[in-house]
C-alpha cells in the first residue's frame, strides 16, 4: 500500500476513498513525515517551533510498536470518543482521535427550524451546559434583530449560566475523580449537581436541555422563593468544595497522577486555538466574561483563575476554583437581581399575554403566527462568542430575512480543544491517557453536533 495522505494534490485518492481507513491512524510505514509530524503532535509551525522532518523517526518500524483502538464506547472516553493509539510498550507515541459517532446534523436541522424553535436544537449540543448554548444562540439572534433585552432577563441569564457552569464542572470533577479510582468523588459530585438540576426543574420544568433562554428574554420568570433555594445552593456548594479539597487536592495518589502530567505551553495552546480552562492553565488570563464582557458580567466581581504549568493539576485546580467564583457571581445576582420584565415587550418576538388571547382576535392571530411561522429576522450575519465551561462557545448566524436561519454554525470549544489530545498524550504512559481525556473535558455532543 502506498502513501495514503489525502490532500488536494491527489484528487484521485480523495475521491476514491471508500472505507473508514483514512480517518484512522495508519502504520508508520504508510505515512510521510508531514502527516507523522501532525500526528505526533509536532503541529507547531510558528516561529521558533518549526517541525524538523529529520527529527522524526519514520523509517524505523519496530516490533514493539502496536496500534490499538480505544473507544468509541470506552468508559473513560466520556461518550463516544474513539482514540487510536500507537504504543511503544507502555508509552503512547501517536494518538489520533476519530470522531463523528454522535454526529446528528444539528447545523442542518437548525436551518429547518424557526428562530424560536432553534433553542431546542442548540441546547442539545453541549448537553452538560445547555444554558450556555442557548445563550450564545439567543445573543446571536438578538444581535441580528437589534432588540433590547430587559435587565432582569439579562441577570437571570447570567445566574443560570453560572449555575450551569457549576453543574458542568461538578460532573467533570465527578467523572474525572472516577477515572482515577475515586468513586466517592463520583457520588459527591453528582449529589451536589442534583441540587442545581432540581432548581432548574423548578424554574424551567426540565432538568437538562432546558430551552429556558429564548430570543427576547427567558421562558418564564423566577418562581416565588427562588432566593431561598439559591442561598442553600450557594452555601452548600461552597462548603462542599472544601471537602473536595480534603478528598482530592491533598491526596497523594491523585497528586501523583495529576502534577506534571501532560503539560502544554501557552504558545502551543494558542496555536491550536485552545480556549477555556485549557488555555488559562498555561497562564494566559483570557476569560471572555472579563475580557469582552457580555450579559452583565462587567457589573459583577469575580476573579479569573489562571494556572502556571499547564498540567493536569492546573486544569483541575482551575475548574475547582471556578466553582467558587461562580458561587460568588450567583450571590451577587441574588443581591442585585433587578425587578421588571423577564422578556422583551417587543411584540415582534414576544407573544401577547394569555389573558389577551381570550378577548382579542388580533392577539390570537399574533400568537398563532408567532408559533407557526415564527418571526422574521433581518438579513445579515453575526458572530457571538461566550465563555462556556469548556471555552469560547461561538454562534455564527446568517439570516436571509426569513423566519429560519439561513446558516447556523456553532464554534464548539470541545471540538477545537480535542486537537490538543495528541500533543498532551505524546510520550506519556498509557494510564495517563485517561487523565488527559478527562482534563481536556470534551463533550461529544458538542464535538460532533
Amino acid at each position: 500500500m502506498t502513501t495514503q495522505v489525502r490532500n488536494v494534490d491527489r484528487l484521485d485518492i480523495l475521491a476514491a476513498g471508500v472505507n473508514e481507513g483514512s480517518q484512522e491512524l495508519k502504520p508508520r510505514e504508510e505515512v510521510n513525515a508531514e502527516e507523522l509530524g501532525r500526528e505526533v503532535g509536532a503541529v507547531l509551525r510558528l516561529q521558533g517551533l518549526k517541525l524538523d522532518p529529520n527529527s522524526i523517526d519514520i523509517e524505523n518500524p519496530d516490533d514493539e510498536r502496536m496500534i490499538i483502538n480505544m473507544g468509541p464506547s470506552h468508559p473513560s472516553t466520556h461518550g463516544v470518543l474513539r482514540l487510536m493509539l500507537e504504543l511503544d510498550g507502555e508509552f503512547v507515541m501517536r494518538t489520533k482521535a476519530v470522531i463523528g459517532y454522535l454526529h446528528t446534523g444539528m447545523e442542518k436541522t437548525a436551518e429547518n427550524l424557526s428562530f424560536m424553535q432553534g433553542g431546542t436544537n442548540v441546547t442539545r449540543m453541549d448537553y452538560l451546559s445547555p444554558v450556555g448554548n442557548e445563550t450564545a444562540y439567543c445573543l446571536a439572534v438578538e444581535s441580528l434583530l437589534d432588540i433590547d433585552i430587559p435587565a432582569r432577563a439579562t441577570w437571570i441569564r447570567m445566574m443560570m449560566n453560572e449555575l450551569n457552569r457549576i453543574s458542568s464542572h461538578l460532573v467533570w470533577l465527578a467523572t474525572s475523580g472516577m477515572d482515577l479510582g475515586s468513586t466517592s468523588m463520583m457520588i459527591y459530585g453528582l449529589r451536589e449537581r442534583e441540587l442545581i438540576l432540581a432548581f432548574f426543574e423548578k424554574i424551567a420544568g426540565l432538568r437538562l436541555n432546558l430551552n429556558y433562554v429564548r430570543p427576547g428574554g427567558v421562558a418564564a420568570d423566577l418562581p416565588d422563593g427562588w432566593e431561598d433555594d439559591i442561598e442553600v445552593i450557594c452555601d452548600t456548594i461552597n462548603d462542599r468544595t472544601y471537602e473536595y479539597d480534603t478528598l482530592l487536592t491533598g491526596q497523594p495518589i491523585f497528586r501523583q497522577r495529576m502534577i506534571g502530567v501532560a503539560p502544554i505551553t501557552a504558545e502551543e495552546a494558542l496555536s491550536l486555538g485552545l480556549t477555556g480552562p485549557l488555555l488559562r492553565s498555561t497562564g494566559v488570563a483570557w476569560d471572555l466574561r472579563r475580557a469582552m464582557p457580555y450579559l452583565a458580567y462587567d457589573q459583577v466581581e469575580f476573579d479569573v483563575i489562571v494556572g502556571t504549568y499547564g498540567d493536569n493539576f492546573d486544569r483541575y485546580a482551575i475548574r475547582l476554583n471556578e466553582i467558587r467564583e461562580s458561587v460568588r457571581i450567583i450571590r451577587q445576582c441574588l443581591e442585585r437581581m433587578p425587578s421588571g420584565d423577564y422578556r422583551s415587550q417587543d411584540p415582534k418576538v414576544t407573544p401577547p399575554p394569555r389573558a389577551r388571547i381570550g378577548e382579542s382576535m388580533e392577539a390570537l392571530i399574533h400568537h398563532f403566527k408567532l408559533f407557526t411561522e415564527g418571526f422574521h429576522v433581518p438579513e445579515g450575519e453575526t458572530y457571538v462568542g461566550i465563555e462556556s465551561p469548556r471555552g469560547e462557545l461561538g454562534c455564527y448566524l446568517v439570516s436571509s430575512g426569513g423566519a429560519k436561519p439561513y446558516r447556523m454554525h456553532t464554534r464548539a470549544p470541545s471540538f477545537t480543544n480535542l486537537q490538543a489530545v495528541p500533543l498532551l498524550m505524546r510520550g506519556g504512559s498509557m494510564s495517563d491517557t485517561v487523565t488527559v481525556i478527562s482534563t481536556v473535558d470534551p463533550v461529544m455532543g458538542e464535538v460532533d453536533r
Partner: protein, 164 residues
C-alpha cells in the same frame, strides 16, 4: 473600527460587522496573505473556520467591489491584546470551491477545515490530511450544501404494506 494591518493585500475589502466586529472580504488568492498580515498584527487565535453555501440566497448584502460566489469560507480571528474580533469571508468559488489552508499559520485549523471539507466539499490547498471528519468515509455528498436534501424516513400508515 479596526486599523487595517499595514501589510494586508490591497485587494482585501474591510467593513464593519455587527457587535463591533470587523469583517474582511477577500478572494482566495489574497486569503493567506491577509491572514498572515492579521497574525503578524497580533491576532493570536484563529477561533474557527466554517463554510456557508449561498445557493438559495444569491442577493446577500455585500460591500461595493465584492462579487459574491456560491461558497464562502468564514474564518474568525481574535486578538487578545486588542480585544478585537475579525471575520474573514473568502469568496471560495461556485463550482469547484478551493481555498488555501491556514494550517501553516494556525495549526488549530486542522479539524475545522476538515469539517468544512466534509460538510461543503470545499478543498483546502496545503492541508496535511484532508479526510472526512464527522461523516463516514464512504458517505456520498456534502450534507450542509443547500442542494443536499434533508431526507425523510417513510412513515408507516395503517393501510400501507407492513414491514414484513
Amino acid at each position: 473600527m479596526i486599523t487595517v494591518p499595514a501589510d494586508a493585500p490591497a485587494q482585501a475589502i474591510w467593513s464593519e460587522g455587527r457587535a463591533a466586529d470587523a469583517v474582511c472580504f477577500v478572494r482566495p488568492d489574497d486569503y493567506l496573505a491577509t491572514v498572515r498580515a492579521l497574525r503578524d498584527d497580533g491576532f493570536e487565535l484563529c477561533l474557527d473556520v466554517c463554510g456557508v453555501d449561498y445557493l438559495e440566497h444569491p442577493g446577500r448584502p455585500l460591500p461595493e467591489g465584492v462579487t459574491g460566489t456560491r461558497f464562502e469560507v468564514v474564518a474568525n480571528f481574535l486578538s487578545m491584546s486588542k480585544r478585537q474580533r475579525v471575520r474573514v469571508r473568502v469568496m471560495a468559488g461556485d463550482d469547484a470551491p478551493r481555498v488555501t489552508s491556514l494550517f501553516s499559520l494556525y495549526a488549530g485549523t486542522e479539524a475545522p477545515e476538515r469539517e468544512v471539507y466534509d460538510m461543503f466539499g470545499i478543498l483546502f490547498d496545503g492541508h496535511p490530511d484532508l479526510s472526512r471528519i464527522l461523516m463516514p468515509e464512504d458517505w456520498e455528498g456534502h450534507p450542509l450544501r443547500k442542494d443536499y436534501s434533508v431526507g425523510s424516513v417513510p412513515v408507516q400508515f395503517k393501510d400501507g404494506p407492513g414491514p414484513r
